[in-house]
Amino acid sequence: MTEMTYRDALNAAMLQEMDRDDSVFLLGEEVAEYDGAYKVSRGMLERYGERRVVDAPISELGFAGLCVGAAMAGLRPICEFMTFNFSILALDQVINGAAKMLYMSNGQIPVPIVFRGPTGAALQLSAQHSQACEVYYAHAPGVKLVVPGTPADAKGLLAAAIRDDDPVAVMEGELLYNVRGEVPDGEHVVPLGVADLKRSGGDVSIITHGKMIHVALQAAGQLAQDGIEADVLDLRSLRPLDVDAILATVARTNRAVYLEEGWPFAGVGAQVASLIQQEAFDDLDAPVARVTQADVPMPYAKNLEQLAKPGAKAVVEACRRVLYLG
């Protein structure tokens, strides 16, 4: 184990995979000369040269499509979006291109591509730069989606994503890049579709993903002071979704709260709540609660932004609600 930042863990995963497979290359805005807008690709241009670490013009639709095409031809692109906000421009190539190619071609043309970059809000970046993009991607059959919340998971999940033969979106967090944690040395791959119980409680389940695991753990800490022990289940991967792990925690606690950074309508929590009521109805002692961003575009003003973001306080309240503690 080595302690490192989430940023360096992502970098380590790319080195690990690019060292072993020449068909893997990194393309995106500012990834080469500038070491990445968030310095995730630091040193990679020097190590692999301009053939494999490529600065793209600000043409998201074009370069995402180019990467999809390269993947159709058998290469394994890592397509970096400076942030997933900008990938909304590229969604046609992701959804109409990458997601459907294998199916439309009757299995003849796989698209082994990774789309990666930060999703969600940072601090006061306002409406166009602060949105959680998970559901745009997860909605489309043909796309896989992982959302690492810790440095170890960042390394392991990105490595798995690169090795996967399908399009995989890896959604990171701007506020996660400096988070430090222990990361396994040497080859480290975390399989897609395996959730991780980040805290074991037993009274109530907080199910979440990505950067929100830190908010969930904070809420769990506060609940513990009142003698309430929460499970914190980090899904890590939204497609494939570890349904067994979700059902297991609900079977143990009989109460669930889904916490996510995005908007409520058709959110990840809506999907998970639907699953729980379908497959574990008898386990439930309370309706599944959800904590999301307020249903508004992200405002700039600090006080409004804080109000709009899901925080530990709202999670604690939701947990108390499903425990009927008022």
Binding site: I58, E60, S126, A127, P264, R290, Y300, L304
Partner: protein
Amino acid sequence: MPGGVGAPEAEGSPDEGGIAGFSREEMHALLAEMLLYRRFEEKAEEAYAIGKIGGFCHLHIGQEALSAGAIGPLRSDDQVITAYREHTQAIAKGISPRAAMAELFGRVDGCSGGRGGSMHLFDPSVGFYGGHGIVGGQIPLGAGLAWAIRYRGGDQICLCFMGDAAVNQGAFLESLNMSAIWQLPIIYVVENNGYGMGTAFSRVSVTEMESRSGAYGIPAHTVDGQDVLECYRFFEALAEEVRGGDGPHFVNAVTYRFRGHSMSDPVSGTYRSRKEVESQKRERDPISLLRDRMFEAGLLTPEELQAHDDRARELCADAADFADSSPTPDPATLYDHVYAEVGDRGRLFLDGRDAARAAAGGAGR
């Protein structure tokens, strides 16, 4: 006195005591205006450093001549739309320094009520349509503003700014084509400061900027974006041509950014040397260029310059004080303006807010 200043279209003979057709008063006004922009940005920089402003904040320092020289000649009912490096453009179009600064501070008296911040200044009442954060996103919107002008039979025009890096977006190409087909009253202005963040334009384009509009049959022009007099005369004449039905035009305004891409980026680095930045600041500062010409022509005294600068600093200090004393937005307004119409049937907000209101006897069930 330097010769050949101003666009060839400039009409009339130089006023006595002026340069290139500009009267002494006009030049003083342009100088004062640019000083205001410079001091405003420096004040924003200062406020950012002490945490009064957050998020991304992109300064226009070095590029002020374009705000004074391209927006200055417009009519008040003409329209401007632009990207996120827009503070001085907003002021040039008529947003007060107070309302602009209050927006940067995220306060209710800001021109977007504190919701938008540095990248999203708006005031349609003065023809300023934002303030957009997605590179290239404002370009089709500009075409739409111009479309509406033509649709209504108006004689206004739209000035649509973008950075050099934005011309690589599909939205740019598509917009140019449409505005050419429909002969829209729009001037596309590239503030060509040579870089998109850390990437030189020459690294992402094998052609010159000026060639970018030719494929769509749109006339292209290059102007010195550091020369406020040239810009002013040029845009004054071009605005009238476009107003007269000449269709879209494309302007490559060559300029330079004196600060880092945003407050969180270094001024220089691997992508441009400190030496390059220093020499641009020394030789191509739009304010010094005008100042020196006025000095040489005997049209400006050091005392007058000082007075302009004092006034600019005063206005910006006042703007910052105003911003700081403006209240933060009322939390109760969080859901205001998500929709223009919030009816009493059906549930608009799905985060439990409407359910809570319904339980309290309000709308939203």
